[in-house]
């Protein structure tokens, strides 16, 4: 596996019309670090991930992913275009977004074959390997409609991993799952952390944050209001806003 990349978010502002979503956001994620992003809804968590991935543009500031620099309005410094940053960091969505017309394996090999131009046989071999790693070796030929939510999300992770990314952006990837299915997805995520990927995980799973995150970052109203190791942020929050949020989530 290629070495992980750091992410630096520098004073990023983003508004949707009148509403300010990111209000001078600053955040650094070291290579190989796992950061859990928590906070009340509407705090800018998803937008942050989408900006890092180039799915949303922003109005001010700068985002660095390794040597790739994203600027306001979708400007960037790479000749290969914004697709390049997306190859560096894969993204997993809350609602999976598997391609329903393709089997699990076809979902996984679609981008390697058509973007990376890998030979199909090679991509299939790697794809089966990845599906095995997320515990779905036997479901390679199943269509998404034949899979449970947890299985779908594991296929989505395998699909992102097939592009050999330096990190993953996870946007509330267990929120749509029943409690008993959440753990199978989170277990996969913890394994990826052990492999050394940079992970930025927007989540409501405090157990996962406590167990797997190197740092917990609390977002509110488009700013980072608290940032530290899980033991400090989750057990001894400094800000009243964080305390209130945690008591709501944990109750």
């Amino acid at each position: 596996m290629s070495h992980p990349l750091p992410v630096v978010i520098n004073n990023v502002r983003k508004r949707f019309g009148e509403r300010v979503v990111l209000d001078g956001m600053n955040l650094s994620v070291a290579a190989g670090e796992t950061v859990a992003v928590i906070g009340p809804s509407g705090g800018g968590k998803s937008t942050l991930l989408r900006c890092i991935n180039g799915l949303n543009t922003f109005d001010e500031g700068e985002i660095r992913v390794g040597s790739f620099i994203l600027g306001p309005g979708g400007n960037h410094n790479h000749t290969a275009g914004v697709q390049q940053v997306r190859r560096l960091f894969g993204m997993i969505f809350q609602d999976f977004q598997l391609f329903p017309h393709l089997t699990a394996l076809e979902n996984v090999i679609e981008a390697p074959v058509h973007v990376l131009k890998q030979p199909r046989a090679e991509a299939q071999r790697r794809g089966r390997e990845l599906l095995a790693r997320v515990g779905l070796a036997d479901r390679a030929n199943a269509h998404p409609r034949e899979l449970s939510g947890g299985q779908k999300q594991r296929v989505a992770i395998a699909r992102a991993m097939a592009m050999d990314p330096r990190g993953l952006l996870c946007d509330e990837i267990t929120s749509a799952l029943d409690p008993e299915l959440k753990s199978e997805v989170l277990t996969v995520l913890e394994a990826l952390k052990r492999e050394g990927l940079t992970l930025i995980v927007v989540t409501h799973e405090m157990g996962f944050a406590r167990r797997a995150a190197d740092r917990v970052v609390v977002l509110d109203a488009g700013r980072v209001i608290e940032d530290g190791p899980p033991s400090q942020v989750l057990e001894h929050p400094q800000m009243p806003r964080t305390q209130r949020f945690l008591s709501e989530v944990l109750s």
């Binding site: 697709q83 993204m91 391609f99 679609e110 981008a111 990376l116 992102a160 592009m163």
Partner: protein, 506 residues
């Protein structure tokens, strides 16, 4: 129409005298006895306006009428022992005039047609007519009606005649007149390229004119008969008997020879049974094995037309849909305009414009090409443009129905927008698009029946031609409907099957 006027037809007495003198009167008629005077005269209607050689004003004596039907009327007077009074009546109003009771019979080159037979009663035929094509003396472009049609030349004829119907069936460009003089005048002047009319008319008006010539063999064959009101069976029967005698006595042949319209065809008039038998015979000849292959040919044209038009519609629909969805503003506007225009005008009008108006535009602006599309190509273009607008909207809706998350998921995997569209969006959209598209295919399949107006002989047109020729409206109609159903019902099932199969799991 001219004001109707009763005319005392004065030729009868003179000729009667001559005939008496010649001693040709056959015995056994009521002629000359006392009952003849007692009975009221029979009223005969015909159109004498430019009506030679049937009936026309005598140039030497404008109070009198001449023509072979005038001579024939004299014979009837003798055979029936009743006076016959002539009444001028517009040709095309003869049938309604009969029904109104304005006169007792119509004798005016009235052709026996299935349509007319529904409304009036016919005597047995008194003349077997054929059609004659006439062209300018110097004409070199064609030597037959077929060649004339292939060259897409304009043929003039009288409206509501067998010639007009034949031209329709052969899908000619034709110009209709309501008198038989003008077509030959226009032909001489070069306004039209040929005239197709009944042989007696051609003999009288065209043969004497050195600037015109007969082209090709005599065509078609039909019967002139005397028309009566439907309840006048007895009168019609009397005329039939009288006609028999006039023929047997040789008078009929003499009259026709006098007018130059006798030919051997006329021998057939009285060799067989009655006209009803002739029609029955022709109907009997149109058996299933005769008409069904023709219907099948029409069905094949319908299928070709449907699928080629749909292919064109699809080829137009996708780029238009993509332009509306993702194009820059001017392209988007153009695509919207396209959809609104072609969805908003009737396909019938569109076909007319393409088939009849485009060549004119090319000519007016001296374009280096003619734009004179063959009917089949014009039909495909018309339907392709029309259905292209519908398909564009179906595709647009189908593409938009794929959630934006699919675009984002593909983008997050490093896929470009075109790649994502081709690999991810389109395959899913096709499943949404196919059921309504199959529906359109079924609709188009039936819509193609309107192309008969620009002379493409598809299934419905074939039905019209065959049913009129055979009078088997019901039988051939059912066969035609069956053919349509055999083709469209499976398409409908396919549509529902696709909907079921692909509606799931998305």
């Amino acid at each position: 129409m001219q004001p109707a006027r009763w005319v005392r037809w004065g030729g009868g007495r003179v000729i009667r005298t001559i005939l008496l003198g010649m001693g040709v009167l056959s015995g056994g008629t009521a002629w000359g006895n006392s009952t003849a005077a007692a009975k009221p005269p029979l009223r005969w209607a015909a159109d004498a306006e430019g009506g030679a050689p049937y009936i026309f004003k005598d140039p030497q004596n404008p109070d009198k009428y001449r023509g072979f039907e005038v001579d024939l009327a004299e014979q009837f007077e003798k055979e029936l022992g009743r006076r016959i009074e002539f009444r001028q009546y517009a040709f095309r109003s003869l049938v309604p005039g009969l029904e109104r009771g304005d006169f007792d019979f119509a004798m005016n080159g009235l052709e026996i047609t299935p349509d007319r037979r529904k409304e009036i009663l016919f005597s047995r035929p008194y003349y077997i007519y054929t059609l004659q094509l006439v062209a300018r003396a110097g004409e070199k472009r064609f030597a037959s009606l077929e060649e004339c049609g292939k060259a897409k030349l304009l043929v003039g004829t009288l409206e509501d005649t067998a010639a007009a119907r034949l031209l329709d069936q052969m899908t000619f460009a034709k110009k209709l007149y309501d008198s038989q003089v003008e077509p030959y005048m226009d032909l001489e002047l070069g306004r039209i390229d040929a005239v197709l009319l009944d042989l007696p008319i051609a003999v009288y008006y065209a043969r004497p004119n050195p600037k015109l010539k007969f082209v090709g063999p005599r065509l078609g064959e039909g019967y002139y008969a005397i028309g009566f009101r439907k309840d006048q069976r007895a009168l019609a029967a009397q005329f039939d008997v009288a006609l028999d005698r006039i023929f047997e006595s040789g008078q009929l042949r003499r009259i026709y020879e006098k007018w130059g319209i006798w030919n051997e065809d006329q021998e057939k008039l009285f060799s067989g049974g009655k006209i009803a038998d002739v029609l029955k015979e022709s109907s009997r000849r149109w058996t299933f094995t005769v008409y069904f292959p023709l219907l099948l040919q029409g069905a094949i044209v319908t299928v070709e037309l449907t699928f080629l038009s749909m292919l064109l519609a699809m080829a137009i629909g996708l780029p238009v849909a993509l332009s509306r969805l993702y194009g820059p503003a001017p392209l988007r506007a153009a695509a919207t305009l396209y959809v609104e225009f072609f969805r908003g005008i009737p396909v019938l009008l569109l076909l007319f414009l393409i088939y009849y108006s485009l060549p004119g535009i090319a000519a007016r602006y001296d374009l280096p090409f003619t734009l004179r599309l063959p009917a089949f190509a014009a039909a495909i273009l018309g339907f392709g443009l029309n259905y292209g607008a519908y398909e564009a909207e179906i595709y647009r809706a189908g593409i938009r129905s794929i959630p934006v998350g699919q675009w984002e998921a593909a983008a997050s995997l490093g896929m470009s927008r075109p790649l994502c569209f081709r690999r991810i969006i389109l395959p899913q959209a096709i499943r949404v698009i196919l059921p309504p598209m199959t529906n359109d295919l079924v609709a188009l399949f039936k819509d193609t029946s309107v192309v008969s107006i620009i002379a493409v002989e598809e299934l419905t047109k074939e039905y019209q031609i065959l049913s009129k020729s055979s009078m088997k409206y019901l039988e051939i109609g059912l066969a035609t409907a069956t053919l349509y159903l055999i083709m469209s019902v499976p398409l409908g099932y396919l549509s529902r099957y696709l909907e079921k199969k692909w509606g799931r799991g998305l």
